[in-house]
Symmetry: D3
Subunit: 67 residues, 6 copies
Amino acid sequence: MPYVNIKITREGATSEQKARLIAGVTSLLQTELGKNPATTVVVIEEVDTDNWGIGGESVTVRRQKGQ
Amino acid sequence: MPYVNIKITREGATSEQKARLIAGVTSLLQTELGKNPATTVVVIEEVDTDNWGIGGESVTVRRQKGQ
Amino acid sequence: MPYVNIKITREGATSEQKARLIAGVTSLLQTELGKNPATTVVVIEEVDTDNWGIGGESVTVRRQKGQ
Amino acid sequence: MPYVNIKITREGATSEQKARLIAGVTSLLQTELGKNPATTVVVIEEVDTDNWGIGGESVTVRRQKGQ
Amino acid sequence: MPYVNIKITREGATSEQKARLIAGVTSLLQTELGKNPATTVVVIEEVDTDNWGIGGESVTVRRQKGQ
Amino acid sequence: MPYVNIKITREGATSEQKARLIAGVTSLLQTELGKNPATTVVVIEEVDTDNWGIGGESVTVRRQKGQ
């Protein structure tokens, strides 16, 4: 019955990559905590780099600086 | 003063449906918990079916399988 | 398959009140959007009044002022 | 190491405004709580006015009424 | 730079189990999406069974019914 | 009308510190984005160090290692 929310920057993750992420997280919760995969919900949110900040700067700015 | 976040798959919910959902949740919080509707906030997030997983699979894949 | 997160201040909501809230929100999503109740998840989070702010003040302070 | 999620209605916030918001929140957490800015994450989410409710109505409807 | 929020019912997960979950999710994001583990944040929230609903009922009630 | 959720590790933030954080974030949203402080909601969540991971390790473990 777990609920997992994964936020990543929107930078071209494919449907296949997201499908593997969903499968992997669901499997991990079963292996480590015995959670039932049938009711494990995973929601992936992709966030524009202008809207994601770390170290006081947006990822857009960090990428421009080569970080 | 409650804050309610509703996540659903993006599959064509109309403005009217979302307006009724906002009204209904706000009313329910007043009826059941005595919360003031004036400061009840409801945020609906619509998520692509590729980005929503249940049972270890994305909803996109489940829909293709007829689930 | 919706996921609903309800945040309220921690001020003595009972198990019965929370059960009715869970039932009511689940029913509303079925009625308004046709969502399957079997996979509708509702998570209620109760937050200390020191940790909830509105209008730039904590709810603790607002309650002391009679607001 | 804080994580801050800011949800606002989607009404034209610019990259520059969002950059200043990220910088300001990160700085505030350092000043008030001594948090390390290098690992402070800020995620801004912009929500359609149809999907944001307050007082039981969507912001779209409230704006039409001049509220 | 991903941010992962995992909500589970509060039913005795140990520190060791949670540590393995943190390690596993971080590793998965590196393997599947190439994300830097150094800035991957994982937050686990444990929720009382009274406050978690599925199928319109709280987990407390479902457990009493043997579900 | 913004909603701000701030997650920090539970390490003794005082009511006064949290009150200043609420005031500061609310003011920042008014200054930078013109948001009405009366309807700005700030929710602070304090998370056990066992439940917060960064770099694939819990904060509990990192603190033991002197990080």
